[in-house]
Symmetry: C2
Subunit: 258 residues, 2 copies
Amino acid sequence: MPTEPGRVEITALAGLPEVRLGDDVGAMVGDALEATPGALPLEEGDVLVVTQKIVSKAEGAVVDLRTVNPSQEAVEWSTKWDRDPRQIQVVMDQAVRIVRQAYGVLIVETPQGFVCANAGVDASNVGPESGDLVTLLPVDPDASARRIRDALVARFGADIAVVVSDSFGRPWRWGITDVALGVAGMLANEDLRGEPDADGRVMRTTIRAVADELASAAELALGKTAGRPVALIRGANPPRGEGTVRETLIPAENDLFR
Amino acid sequence: MPTEPGRVEITALAGLPEVRLGDDVGAMVGDALEATPGALPLEEGDVLVVTQKIVSKAEGAVVDLRTVNPSQEAVEWSTKWDRDPRQIQVVMDQAVRIVRQAYGVLIVETPQGFVCANAGVDASNVGPESGDLVTLLPVDPDASARRIRDALVARFGADIAVVVSDSFGRPWRWGITDVALGVAGMLANEDLRGEPDADGRVMRTTIRAVADELASAAELALGKTAGRPVALIRGANPPRGEGTVRETLIPAENDLFR
C-alpha cells in the first residue's frame, strides 16, 4: 500500500512478547511486522521506531537496585526529595555532568551526549517481575538501531530506516515528547539551509529534526500504557544516508543551557 | 474510514490558496477538507493541525519591515551577527524577557509565555510578494484555534480538535520540531501521573505532551517547502476537554533554564 505524497501512516505493531536479556530485537520486530496486518511488504522509506525500553532490556542495560549501595550524597538528595536513594545513585553514576538539580529531578549529561532528566534511568514498563529493576539508556543507540535495521533489511530486503526512541522532558514546557536516541539508514536531521521555501526565498536557519519528529509521531500510536513498543511509519520518507544521532547533539561548548 | 487502535493517519490537506489579512481560516480549512480525498466525514477525535504562518497572516500578526526604525541596540546587535536590524528590532519589541543571546539568535520569552528563538518572528513562507514582511506569533493562539474549531464544528458537526503549531528549536539538540502554540477541543497534555503502566506499576512523573507530538507528527506530512499549511490527524484521539496551551508552559518561577 504505497502512500501518496503528504500522507503518513503510523501503525503500532502487534504481538511483541516480553523482551528479556539477550533477545534478538531485530528478529522480534520482524515477527511483529509479520503479525501486523498491512505492514508487509516493507517499502523503501519506511521507518521502524523502537522504544528504548525493549532495546535496553535486550542489551542488558538494566540495573537491579538490590545491588546498589547508595552514597551519602545520594541518600541526602533522596531524603530531601522523597526518592529511592539506590535509583539516585544509578543516575549519579550515569552522569558525566550535572546540568541542573531541583524539584526532585537531576538533569544530567549522559556518556552518549544526551542532556535529560535522571540520565534516562527509568523504572516504568520494565517488566512484570521487575520490582527493583531500572533500565539505563543503551550504551550506543546508533549501533542498536543499526543492528535492528541490518536484521530487517536482511529479512525483508527493503531499504528501511530505524529510530530508537525515548521520552524526554525539555526546558520551558511541561510534559515529555519522544525523541531519537539513535538512528540507522537515515539522517537524523534534514538540513534545509540554502533551500528555497514555498515562495522561493532562501531559508536561513531551518534544520528539521526529522528523527525526533518521527519518535514523537510514533508515540501517538504507541501511547504509554498499552505495552506497544514498536511503530511502523510509512510515508514520512526521511532523508537517506548513514546518519547518527550525534547530528542532533549540541556540543557543550556551543550550548547556551549547560 | 474509522482507524483501528494503534493506527494514526496524517494527511496534508490539498488546495489552500494564499492566505491574506482578514481571511477566514476556518472556512478555508473547511474547503480544503472538502477538496482532500478521504478527509470527510470528520470523526470525533480527529485533529486539524494548522501552522502558525497562515493564522498570523489572516489575523494581521505581520510587520512590514519598511515601517520599522531600528534602535541603536538593534543596529549594534545586527551588525555583530549579520542580521537585518529592522527584524531584530521587531524581535526585541516582542520580548518580555531576553533569556539568552548568542550566535546571532535571541532566545526570548514572548507575551504569550513561550520561550523561543527570535520571539517566533519569521520571514520564511510569508507569501510571494512579501520581500519585507515578517510574521509574529498570533496574539492569542488558543483563541485562534478555538475560532477555527468553532467554524469546523458548525460546518461538519464532528467533535474535532484543533492545534495551531509552529517550529521551535530547543536546548541541547540541533534542529527544530513543531510544537503547539494553541489548542481547542482537547487538552494539550495528558497527565498519566497515578495511572498504571503496562506492568501495573504506578507512573510517577509521566505527562504526555500530546499537542506538541501532534504538531511534530503533522510536520512529517507537511514539510517545510511544499506550501502545505494544514494537516488532518486521524486515530491519535487526544485527551478531550477545554484545554489551553498554558498547560504546557512552565512559569518562570518554576523554570530551571530562564
